[in-house]
Point group: C2
Chain length 201, copies 2
Protein backbone atom coordinates (compact mmCIF):
# COMPACT_ATOMS: atom_id res chain seq x y z
CA UNK A 1 0.00 0.00 0.00
CA UNK A 2 1.43 3.39 -0.95
CA UNK A 3 2.29 5.65 1.96
CA UNK A 4 -0.02 8.64 2.07
CA UNK A 5 0.83 12.15 3.08
CA UNK A 6 -1.79 12.01 5.78
CA UNK A 7 0.02 9.11 7.45
CA UNK A 8 2.79 11.39 8.64
CA UNK A 9 2.01 11.82 12.34
CA UNK A 10 1.34 15.43 13.08
CA UNK A 11 3.52 17.23 15.58
CA UNK A 12 1.77 17.38 18.89
CA UNK A 13 1.83 20.67 20.76
CA UNK A 14 2.68 20.79 24.44
CA UNK A 15 5.65 20.16 26.64
CA UNK A 16 7.19 17.17 28.35
CA UNK A 17 3.88 15.68 29.46
CA UNK A 18 2.53 15.68 25.90
CA UNK A 19 5.78 14.13 24.64
CA UNK A 20 5.63 11.41 27.28
CA UNK A 21 2.05 10.63 26.31
CA UNK A 22 2.93 10.52 22.63
CA UNK A 23 5.94 8.25 23.27
CA UNK A 24 3.90 5.90 25.45
CA UNK A 25 1.08 5.60 22.91
CA UNK A 26 3.58 4.94 20.12
CA UNK A 27 5.34 2.31 22.27
CA UNK A 28 1.97 0.69 22.95
CA UNK A 29 1.27 0.21 19.24
CA UNK A 30 4.77 -1.16 18.72
CA UNK A 31 4.38 -3.62 21.58
CA UNK A 32 1.02 -4.73 20.22
CA UNK A 33 2.63 -5.42 16.89
CA UNK A 34 5.58 -7.27 18.46
CA UNK A 35 4.03 -9.31 21.26
CA UNK A 36 0.27 -8.91 20.88
CA UNK A 37 -2.42 -8.09 23.38
CA UNK A 38 -1.84 -11.08 25.68
CA UNK A 39 1.80 -10.31 26.46
CA UNK A 40 1.56 -6.54 26.47
CA UNK A 41 2.23 -5.09 29.90
CA UNK A 42 2.79 -1.68 31.49
CA UNK A 43 6.34 -2.81 32.29
CA UNK A 44 7.17 -3.57 28.68
CA UNK A 45 5.55 -0.40 27.33
CA UNK A 46 7.28 1.74 29.97
CA UNK A 47 10.65 0.20 29.10
CA UNK A 48 10.10 0.80 25.43
CA UNK A 49 8.99 4.41 25.91
CA UNK A 50 11.78 5.10 28.42
CA UNK A 51 9.44 6.20 31.20
CA UNK A 52 8.66 4.87 34.66
CA UNK A 53 5.81 2.39 34.81
CA UNK A 54 4.09 4.27 37.65
CA UNK A 55 3.46 7.03 35.08
CA UNK A 56 1.42 4.54 33.09
CA UNK A 57 -0.54 3.20 36.06
CA UNK A 58 -1.36 6.72 37.16
CA UNK A 59 -2.56 7.83 33.77
CA UNK A 60 -4.27 4.75 32.28
CA UNK A 61 -4.99 2.36 35.18
CA UNK A 62 -5.13 -0.73 32.95
CA UNK A 63 -3.81 -1.86 29.63
CA UNK A 64 -7.17 -1.80 27.87
CA UNK A 65 -7.50 1.95 28.52
CA UNK A 66 -3.98 2.43 27.23
CA UNK A 67 -4.56 0.38 24.06
CA UNK A 68 -7.86 2.09 23.35
CA UNK A 69 -6.29 5.52 23.66
CA UNK A 70 -3.35 4.49 21.46
CA UNK A 71 -5.68 3.17 18.76
CA UNK A 72 -8.02 6.15 18.90
CA UNK A 73 -5.09 8.56 18.81
CA UNK A 74 -3.66 6.82 15.78
CA UNK A 75 -7.11 6.85 14.22
CA UNK A 76 -7.45 10.57 14.85
CA UNK A 77 -4.04 11.27 13.31
CA UNK A 78 -4.35 8.90 10.42
CA UNK A 79 -8.03 9.09 9.66
CA UNK A 80 -8.64 12.81 9.22
CA UNK A 81 -12.25 13.56 8.35
CA UNK A 82 -12.35 14.24 4.61
CA UNK A 83 -14.36 17.17 3.21
CA UNK A 84 -14.24 16.84 -0.56
CA UNK A 85 -17.66 18.30 -1.29
CA UNK A 86 -19.47 15.05 -2.06
CA UNK A 87 -20.64 12.24 0.20
CA UNK A 88 -19.45 9.51 -2.12
CA UNK A 89 -15.89 10.80 -2.34
CA UNK A 90 -15.78 11.67 1.37
CA UNK A 91 -16.72 8.05 2.11
CA UNK A 92 -14.13 6.76 -0.38
CA UNK A 93 -11.44 8.83 1.36
CA UNK A 94 -12.55 7.59 4.76
CA UNK A 95 -12.49 3.98 3.51
CA UNK A 96 -8.94 4.39 2.21
CA UNK A 97 -7.84 5.87 5.54
CA UNK A 98 -9.41 2.97 7.43
CA UNK A 99 -7.52 0.50 5.23
CA UNK A 100 -4.25 2.41 5.70
CA UNK A 101 -4.81 2.47 9.45
CA UNK A 102 -5.46 -1.29 9.54
CA UNK A 103 -2.16 -1.87 7.79
CA UNK A 104 -0.41 -0.76 11.01
CA UNK A 105 0.69 -4.05 12.60
CA UNK A 106 -0.32 -2.96 16.11
CA UNK A 107 -3.79 -1.83 15.05
CA UNK A 108 -4.29 -4.97 13.00
CA UNK A 109 -3.09 -7.27 15.79
CA UNK A 110 -5.50 -5.63 18.23
CA UNK A 111 -8.39 -5.89 15.77
CA UNK A 112 -7.69 -9.59 15.23
CA UNK A 113 -7.48 -10.14 18.97
CA UNK A 114 -10.84 -8.45 19.59
CA UNK A 115 -12.37 -10.63 16.85
CA UNK A 116 -10.93 -13.80 18.36
CA UNK A 117 -12.50 -13.34 21.81
CA UNK A 118 -15.70 -15.26 22.48
CA UNK A 119 -16.20 -13.74 25.93
CA UNK A 120 -17.93 -10.47 25.12
CA UNK A 121 -17.76 -9.37 28.77
CA UNK A 122 -13.97 -9.27 28.62
CA UNK A 123 -12.04 -6.02 28.73
CA UNK A 124 -10.72 -6.52 25.22
CA UNK A 125 -14.25 -6.98 23.81
CA UNK A 126 -15.28 -3.80 25.59
CA UNK A 127 -12.31 -2.10 23.94
CA UNK A 128 -13.72 -3.12 20.54
CA UNK A 129 -17.09 -1.59 21.36
CA UNK A 130 -15.63 1.64 22.67
CA UNK A 131 -13.33 1.99 19.68
CA UNK A 132 -16.28 1.52 17.33
CA UNK A 133 -18.48 4.09 19.10
CA UNK A 134 -15.67 6.64 19.02
CA UNK A 135 -15.03 5.99 15.31
CA UNK A 136 -18.70 6.43 14.41
CA UNK A 137 -18.83 9.65 16.35
CA UNK A 138 -15.80 11.04 14.53
CA UNK A 139 -17.01 9.89 11.13
CA UNK A 140 -20.49 11.29 11.52
CA UNK A 141 -19.00 14.68 10.63
CA UNK A 142 -18.99 13.39 7.03
CA UNK A 143 -22.71 12.83 7.22
CA UNK A 144 -23.32 16.19 8.85
CA UNK A 145 -21.54 17.81 5.92
CA UNK A 146 -23.72 15.84 3.48
CA UNK A 147 -26.85 16.85 5.36
CA UNK A 148 -25.79 20.51 5.30
CA UNK A 149 -25.31 20.24 1.53
CA UNK A 150 -28.77 18.66 1.27
CA UNK A 151 -27.27 15.48 -0.20
CA UNK A 152 -28.96 13.16 2.29
CA UNK A 153 -32.07 13.50 4.47
CA UNK A 154 -31.44 14.75 7.99
CA UNK A 155 -32.83 11.59 9.61
CA UNK A 156 -30.21 9.25 8.11
CA UNK A 157 -28.52 7.44 11.01
CA UNK A 158 -24.73 7.92 10.87
CA UNK A 159 -23.93 4.53 12.44
CA UNK A 160 -25.62 2.52 9.70
CA UNK A 161 -23.83 4.26 6.84
CA UNK A 162 -20.46 4.17 8.55
CA UNK A 163 -21.05 0.49 9.26
CA UNK A 164 -22.04 -0.19 5.65
CA UNK A 165 -18.73 1.35 4.61
CA UNK A 166 -16.54 -0.19 7.33
CA UNK A 167 -17.94 -3.73 7.59
CA UNK A 168 -16.91 -4.97 4.11
CA UNK A 169 -13.40 -3.61 4.72
CA UNK A 170 -13.01 -5.53 8.00
CA UNK A 171 -14.75 -8.57 6.49
CA UNK A 172 -12.19 -8.73 3.67
CA UNK A 173 -9.27 -8.09 6.00
CA UNK A 174 -10.32 -10.61 8.66
CA UNK A 175 -12.03 -13.37 6.73
CA UNK A 176 -12.13 -13.47 2.96
CA UNK A 177 -8.89 -11.81 1.79
CA UNK A 178 -10.69 -10.22 -1.14
CA UNK A 179 -8.74 -7.21 -2.48
CA UNK A 180 -8.76 -3.92 -0.55
CA UNK A 181 -7.74 -1.75 -3.48
CA UNK A 182 -8.92 1.73 -4.47
CA UNK A 183 -11.42 0.42 -7.02
CA UNK A 184 -13.13 -1.68 -4.36
CA UNK A 185 -13.36 1.23 -1.91
CA UNK A 186 -14.60 3.69 -4.50
CA UNK A 187 -17.37 1.37 -5.70
CA UNK A 188 -18.29 0.56 -2.11
CA UNK A 189 -18.46 4.27 -1.21
CA UNK A 190 -20.74 4.94 -4.20
CA UNK A 191 -23.11 2.17 -3.16
CA UNK A 192 -23.19 3.35 0.46
CA UNK A 193 -23.76 6.97 -0.58
CA UNK A 194 -26.63 5.92 -2.87
CA UNK A 195 -28.29 4.08 0.03
CA UNK A 196 -27.98 7.20 2.18
CA UNK A 197 -29.63 9.23 -0.55
CA UNK A 198 -32.42 6.81 -1.40
CA UNK A 199 -33.60 6.44 2.20
CA UNK A 200 -35.28 3.04 1.83
CA UNK A 201 -37.81 2.10 4.50
CA UNK B 1 -32.23 -16.85 19.44
CA UNK B 2 -35.32 -18.91 18.73
CA UNK B 3 -34.69 -22.34 17.24
CA UNK B 4 -35.95 -22.48 13.71
CA UNK B 5 -37.54 -25.40 11.95
CA UNK B 6 -34.88 -25.23 9.31
CA UNK B 7 -32.23 -25.86 11.95
CA UNK B 8 -33.29 -29.48 12.34
CA UNK B 9 -30.62 -31.37 10.39
CA UNK B 10 -32.20 -33.18 7.53
CA UNK B 11 -31.87 -36.95 7.42
CA UNK B 12 -29.14 -37.93 5.07
CA UNK B 13 -29.80 -40.72 2.63
CA UNK B 14 -27.30 -43.52 2.16
CA UNK B 15 -25.90 -46.38 4.15
CA UNK B 16 -23.06 -46.85 6.58
CA UNK B 17 -20.59 -44.67 4.69
CA UNK B 18 -22.99 -41.70 4.71
CA UNK B 19 -23.65 -42.21 8.42
CA UNK B 20 -19.95 -42.33 9.19
CA UNK B 21 -19.44 -39.11 7.25
CA UNK B 22 -22.32 -37.43 9.03
CA UNK B 23 -21.05 -38.56 12.46
CA UNK B 24 -17.52 -37.38 11.72
CA UNK B 25 -18.65 -33.95 10.52
CA UNK B 26 -20.85 -33.53 13.59
CA UNK B 27 -17.97 -34.61 15.87
CA UNK B 28 -15.74 -32.08 14.12
CA UNK B 29 -18.07 -29.18 14.95
CA UNK B 30 -18.36 -30.38 18.55
CA UNK B 31 -14.58 -30.62 18.90
CA UNK B 32 -14.21 -27.14 17.43
CA UNK B 33 -16.63 -25.82 20.02
CA UNK B 34 -14.91 -27.68 22.88
CA UNK B 35 -11.20 -27.35 22.14
CA UNK B 36 -10.94 -24.95 19.19
CA UNK B 37 -9.00 -25.17 15.98
CA UNK B 38 -5.54 -25.41 17.53
CA UNK B 39 -6.20 -28.54 19.59
CA UNK B 40 -8.50 -30.27 17.12
CA UNK B 41 -6.95 -33.48 15.77
CA UNK B 42 -8.00 -36.48 13.69
CA UNK B 43 -7.46 -38.64 16.79
CA UNK B 44 -9.88 -36.64 18.90
CA UNK B 45 -12.53 -36.38 16.19
CA UNK B 46 -12.26 -40.12 15.43
CA UNK B 47 -12.65 -40.95 19.15
CA UNK B 48 -15.68 -38.73 19.41
CA UNK B 49 -17.33 -40.12 16.28
CA UNK B 50 -16.47 -43.71 17.23
CA UNK B 51 -14.58 -44.44 14.02
CA UNK B 52 -10.97 -45.33 13.26
CA UNK B 53 -8.71 -42.39 12.58
CA UNK B 54 -7.38 -43.95 9.36
CA UNK B 55 -10.88 -43.41 7.95
CA UNK B 56 -10.40 -39.70 8.49
CA UNK B 57 -6.90 -39.57 7.00
CA UNK B 58 -8.11 -41.48 3.94
CA UNK B 59 -11.08 -39.24 3.33
CA UNK B 60 -9.93 -35.74 4.35
CA UNK B 61 -6.10 -35.82 4.41
CA UNK B 62 -5.83 -32.86 6.79
CA UNK B 63 -7.90 -31.14 9.42
CA UNK B 64 -8.54 -28.01 7.38
CA UNK B 65 -10.32 -30.07 4.69
CA UNK B 66 -12.34 -31.76 7.40
CA UNK B 67 -13.33 -28.48 9.11
CA UNK B 68 -14.21 -26.84 5.81
CA UNK B 69 -16.47 -29.73 4.85
CA UNK B 70 -18.11 -29.75 8.29
CA UNK B 71 -18.81 -26.02 8.10
CA UNK B 72 -20.07 -26.14 4.53
CA UNK B 73 -22.27 -29.13 5.28
CA UNK B 74 -23.76 -27.35 8.27
CA UNK B 75 -24.22 -24.26 6.14
CA UNK B 76 -26.02 -26.30 3.49
CA UNK B 77 -28.34 -27.87 6.07
CA UNK B 78 -28.96 -24.75 8.10
CA UNK B 79 -28.84 -22.10 5.43
CA UNK B 80 -31.35 -23.31 2.86
CA UNK B 81 -31.70 -20.91 -0.05
CA UNK B 82 -34.92 -18.96 0.54
CA UNK B 83 -37.34 -18.33 -2.32
CA UNK B 84 -40.01 -15.98 -0.96
CA UNK B 85 -40.76 -14.14 -4.19
CA UNK B 86 -38.88 -10.92 -3.38
CA UNK B 87 -35.19 -10.13 -3.23
CA UNK B 88 -35.49 -8.11 -0.05
CA UNK B 89 -37.23 -10.87 1.92
CA UNK B 90 -34.99 -13.58 0.43
CA UNK B 91 -31.98 -11.60 1.67
CA UNK B 92 -33.59 -11.10 5.09
CA UNK B 93 -34.15 -14.86 5.38
CA UNK B 94 -30.59 -15.57 4.32
CA UNK B 95 -29.28 -13.07 6.86
CA UNK B 96 -31.26 -14.73 9.65
CA UNK B 97 -29.95 -18.14 8.66
CA UNK B 98 -26.37 -16.83 8.66
CA UNK B 99 -26.87 -15.47 12.18
CA UNK B 100 -28.43 -18.75 13.36
CA UNK B 101 -25.53 -20.68 11.84
CA UNK B 102 -22.98 -18.41 13.56
CA UNK B 103 -24.62 -19.17 16.89
CA UNK B 104 -23.28 -22.73 16.62
CA UNK B 105 -20.26 -22.70 18.96
CA UNK B 106 -18.10 -24.73 16.53
CA UNK B 107 -18.86 -22.48 13.58
CA UNK B 108 -18.33 -19.38 15.66
CA UNK B 109 -15.05 -20.63 17.15
CA UNK B 110 -13.74 -21.40 13.68
CA UNK B 111 -14.80 -18.00 12.37
CA UNK B 112 -13.04 -16.26 15.25
CA UNK B 113 -9.93 -18.35 14.67
CA UNK B 114 -9.81 -17.47 10.97
CA UNK B 115 -10.17 -13.78 11.91
CA UNK B 116 -7.34 -14.00 14.44
CA UNK B 117 -4.70 -15.30 12.01
CA UNK B 118 -2.34 -12.74 10.56
CA UNK B 119 -0.56 -15.25 8.29
CA UNK B 120 -2.86 -15.33 5.29
CA UNK B 121 -0.84 -18.14 3.72
CA UNK B 122 -1.84 -20.48 6.54
CA UNK B 123 -4.21 -23.39 6.00
CA UNK B 124 -6.81 -21.86 8.30
CA UNK B 125 -6.83 -18.58 6.34
CA UNK B 126 -7.24 -20.59 3.14
CA UNK B 127 -10.19 -22.32 4.82
CA UNK B 128 -11.81 -18.90 5.36
CA UNK B 129 -11.42 -18.04 1.69
CA UNK B 130 -12.76 -21.39 0.46
CA UNK B 131 -15.73 -21.19 2.83
CA UNK B 132 -16.56 -17.73 1.56
CA UNK B 133 -16.35 -18.68 -2.12
CA UNK B 134 -18.62 -21.68 -1.52
CA UNK B 135 -21.14 -19.55 0.39
CA UNK B 136 -21.30 -16.91 -2.34
CA UNK B 137 -21.83 -19.61 -4.94
CA UNK B 138 -24.72 -21.12 -2.97
CA UNK B 139 -26.30 -17.76 -2.23
CA UNK B 140 -26.13 -16.51 -5.78
CA UNK B 141 -29.24 -18.62 -6.42
CA UNK B 142 -31.13 -15.82 -4.62
CA UNK B 143 -29.84 -13.32 -7.14
CA UNK B 144 -30.59 -15.61 -10.07
CA UNK B 145 -34.18 -15.78 -8.85
CA UNK B 146 -34.33 -11.97 -8.62
CA UNK B 147 -32.85 -11.64 -12.11
CA UNK B 148 -35.42 -14.10 -13.49
CA UNK B 149 -38.17 -12.02 -11.90
CA UNK B 150 -36.63 -8.91 -13.48
CA UNK B 151 -36.08 -7.38 -10.04
CA UNK B 152 -32.40 -6.64 -10.61
CA UNK B 153 -30.32 -6.15 -13.77
CA UNK B 154 -28.60 -9.28 -15.04
CA UNK B 155 -25.13 -7.79 -14.66
CA UNK B 156 -25.33 -7.36 -10.87
CA UNK B 157 -22.39 -9.24 -9.34
CA UNK B 158 -23.60 -11.77 -6.74
CA UNK B 159 -20.47 -11.52 -4.56
CA UNK B 160 -20.91 -7.80 -3.86
CA UNK B 161 -24.52 -8.07 -2.73
CA UNK B 162 -23.90 -11.18 -0.64
CA UNK B 163 -20.94 -9.38 0.91
CA UNK B 164 -23.02 -6.25 1.61
CA UNK B 165 -25.47 -8.49 3.48
CA UNK B 166 -22.94 -10.70 5.26
CA UNK B 167 -20.23 -8.21 6.24
CA UNK B 168 -22.28 -6.16 8.74
CA UNK B 169 -23.41 -9.42 10.41
CA UNK B 170 -19.85 -10.65 10.90
CA UNK B 171 -18.72 -7.14 11.84
CA UNK B 172 -21.27 -6.97 14.65
CA UNK B 173 -20.54 -10.51 15.79
CA UNK B 174 -16.76 -10.18 15.76
CA UNK B 175 -16.11 -6.58 16.69
CA UNK B 176 -18.85 -4.21 17.73
CA UNK B 177 -21.46 -6.39 19.51
CA UNK B 178 -24.26 -4.30 18.05
CA UNK B 179 -27.57 -6.22 18.07
CA UNK B 180 -28.18 -9.01 15.54
CA UNK B 181 -31.96 -8.99 15.83
CA UNK B 182 -34.63 -9.40 13.16
CA UNK B 183 -35.18 -5.67 12.80
CA UNK B 184 -31.52 -5.13 12.00
CA UNK B 185 -31.45 -7.92 9.41
CA UNK B 186 -34.65 -6.81 7.72
CA UNK B 187 -33.50 -3.20 7.39
CA UNK B 188 -30.11 -4.36 6.16
CA UNK B 189 -31.74 -6.64 3.57
CA UNK B 190 -33.89 -3.77 2.31
CA UNK B 191 -30.88 -1.52 1.89
CA UNK B 192 -28.88 -4.21 0.10
CA UNK B 193 -31.80 -5.06 -2.20
CA UNK B 194 -32.25 -1.38 -3.07
CA UNK B 195 -28.57 -1.15 -4.05
CA UNK B 196 -28.98 -4.20 -6.29
CA UNK B 197 -31.92 -2.56 -7.98
CA UNK B 198 -30.45 0.91 -8.36
CA UNK B 199 -27.28 -0.35 -10.04
CA UNK B 200 -25.01 2.60 -9.16
CA UNK B 201 -21.93 3.03 -11.32
Amino acid sequence: MARRKSETPRKRPGGRSARVRSDVLQATLEELADVGYGELSFERVADRAGVHKTTLYRRWENKENLILEAMLERGRDRIPIPDTGSLSSDLAELGKEIIANLSDPGVQATTRTVASIRDRDSAIAELGRRFWRARVELASAILDQAKTRGEIPSQVEPGLLIEALSAPIYFRLLLTDEPLDDEFVEQLAKRVASVGKSRPR
